[in-house]
């Protein structure tokens, strides 16, 4: 990269150009895949099958979206996804918040270690026992089964995000609460929870995203009526094979909520994915 023969100012310009070019190259793969998805979702079937590909010179159509919405009970799947992701992230918060607070205040490392096991265990390893148990209980295809199984995703996530937030509160706040005659559970409920509301929001958003994205659990534990979007679009591949346009429309719609929520939670995404154990 050293431009010793070139005059200094020119060298700097060259370097700057090289930098921006590298940046474009780095961003290109992500851009290209999403570009391809979105443009294909607006293409007519003829344009999808044309080689060389029609990059931008096609007449856009909403047909794919229309047929994706009409050929399948799309609204139903969307509501299923919303219901399961919302319920399981709320449930994850409900049991995760007190646990995270307790881990942070009383340094219960064994509990946090056992939660790390949830991160290590292959998801498929849950599926066989869950499937057998829910079959025995006649719950396969029911919302409770789906929501409960998603708690395995949302609850450890909530704990590891929230431990950081609770540990971040200065100890003086707790001491002051105690001096004021605040009971311990009251301290949690009245002091710690309100102070970490931004944390709860991020934890909730991340839990929602991960539950929304789940494919494994829903593939096995949902049925025709309770199917979530990722499974619905997968089944679409089998039922109407090679009908790429509507599938790309489906894929695009699925990702819109995730994209929006990511913007809010972006700073904590890595913590969520590495589950607090980088330290």
């Amino acid at each position: 990269m050293s431009a010793s023969t070139v005059p200094r100012g020119a060298g700097r310009t060259l370097r700057r150009i090289a930098f921006w070019l590298t940046l474009i190259v780095a961003l290109a793969p992500a851009a290209f895949v999403f570009f391809w998805m979105v443009t294909s979702s607006f293409k007519q079937q003829v344009d999808i099958y044309t080689i060389p590909p029609q990059w931008l010179n096609f007449s856009p159509t909403l047909d794919n979206y229309r047929s994706a919405l009409e050929q399948t009970p799309f609204t139903r799947y969307m509501m299923n996804s919303l219901l399961v992701a919302t319920a399981s992230s709320l449930f994850g918060l409900m049991i995760g918040l007190p646990a995270a607070y307790s881990i942070a205040r009383y340094r219960q490392s064994k509990l946090s270690l056992s939660l790390l096991t949830a991160r290590l265990l292959p998801g498929v390893a849950y599926l066989v026992p869950f499937f057998v148990a829910f079959t025995a209980l006649r719950m396969v295809g029911s919302y409770p089964a789906l929501i409960l199984s998603h708690v395995i995703i949302t609850f450890p996530l909530t704990v590891f995000i929230m431990v950081n937030f609770f540990a971040g509160l200065p100890a003086e706040i707790y001491d002051a609460a105690e001096v004021d005659g605040c009971g311990r559970l009251e301290t949690f409920w009245r002091i710690a929870l309100p102070l970490t509301r931004p944390g709860m929001l991020t934890a909730g958003i991340l839990a929602f995203i991960f539950s929304w994205n789940d494919f494994k659990m829903a593939l096995i534990l949902s049925d025709g009526d309770t199917r979530t979007l990722p499974v619905a679009v997968f089944n679409f591949v089998h039922e109407a094979s090679l009908d790429w346009g509507p599938m790309m429309a489906y894929a695009t719609i699925i990702m819109i909520p995730v994209l929006i929520l990511t913007l809010f939670a972006q700073r904590h995404i890595v913590t969520g994915m590495t589950m607090g154990s980088v330290k």
């Binding site: 992500a30 895949v33 007190p98 646990a99 009971g183 559970l185």
Partner: protein, 317 residues
């Protein structure tokens, strides 16, 4: 207990009660307060036992049995499922494909991720937006993303085939070619997960001390020399963490393989995870599938333990 489970993260307590609480306390609340460190995590412990301990114990139990569901109870067959796995080519094949996929994709991700981290470590206008954009593949719905890749890899309409041919390359069948399918899937995995490696390394770069870099500058080291002799050794602990996380998750890769190839063509992309899934949940061989899952779990935990040791040793130095 019930008090806790009924307390969603709704707005804090009603303002009416706050401040004006009389000093008189109910004995129940006092009792609860004394044991708060057990009561607060109690719901979580129940969930951990029900949703973690139960699956682990039950999987181990099933792995010693032969069972395909139905009314007949599982039949104890001892170690037969394990010996069957160890003597089948399909198991070893799936193990080999897992290793091939994992080494290829994690290797690519680490190299590209470190490069991207160095790039994003620089200050430039729009860095925050560029980072968020770069990050999107790992947070986008995997099953949906996998479909887009399936389309792009398609032998007839796929855009990749066109791109390769237009620069004079051969006709590649990508996911329909038994020799290409694992690399093709590794590319998808790399596309999805390089951002995670990048973000972990970026956090590591931000935390590095400045003195070694100044010393290197004084010694007249060029950018490449500085990177190899200063940056990389300092980044080692962070890199180990990134590699550990990626190894563990890559071994467990499911969504993209299931959607793009479902293990095909033939069994060319059937990793251990997918093999176990098919045995356990497609063919309902619960016993054999569970034995395979025991192997898979041991593999993941083994990797985690080895890495924790390596990390502990690096930190001692």
């Amino acid at each position: 207990m019930s008090q806790l489970t009924e307390s969603p993260p709704a707005p804090p307590a009603r303002p009416a009660g706050s401040g004006s609480m009389p000093p008189r306390r109910r004995p129940l609340l006092d009792w609860l307060d004394r044991y708060d460190r057990y009561i607060l995590p109690a719901p979580a412990v129940i969930v951990v036992v029900a949703m973690l301990a139960f699956p682990i114990v039950y999987t181990i139990y099933l792995s010693f049995h032969q069972w395909s569901g139905g009314l007949r109870p599982p039949q104890w067959i001892g170690l037969d499922n394990f010996t069957r796995a160890l003597t089948t080519g399909q198991f070893w094949g799936s193990l080999w494909r897992t290793a091939y996929f994992v080494i290829l994709s994690v290797g690519l991700q680490v190299v590209i991720g470190v490069g991207a981290a160095l790039l994003f470590h620089r200050r430039f206008p729009g860095r925050g937006i560029a980072r968020t954009f770069f990050m999107f593949p790992m947070i986008a719905t995997p099953a949906a993303v996998a479909l887009v890749w399936k389309m792009m890899y398609d032998p007839t309409i796929g855009v990749f085939n066109y791109l390769v041919q237009s620069i004079g390359g051969p006709t590649l069948l990508w996911t329909s070619d038994a020799n290409l399918v694992i690399p093709a899937l590794a590319i998808v995995d790399t596309w999805m997960w390089t951002p995670l490696v990048m973000l972990i390394v970026l956090a590591g770069l931000a935390a590095l001390p400045q003195e070694p870099f100044e010393a290197a500058k004084v010694d007249g080291a060029g950018p490449i020399r500085t990177f190899v002799s200063v940056t990389l050794p300092l980044l080692r602990p962070v890199l180990l963490v990134a590699v550990l996380f990626r190894l563990i998750d890559a071994i467990k890769t499911f969504d993209i393989i299931k959607v793009i190839t479902d293990g095909g063509p033939g069994q060319a992309s059937e990793t251990l995870n997918l093999y176990a899934f098919k045995q356990g949940l497609s063919y309902l061989h619960f016993g054999y599938g569970s034995a395979l899952l025991v192997f898979l779990t041991l593999l993941v935990f083994g990797v985690a333990i080895v890495f924790t040791h390596v990390r502990a040793r690096t930190e001692e130095k």
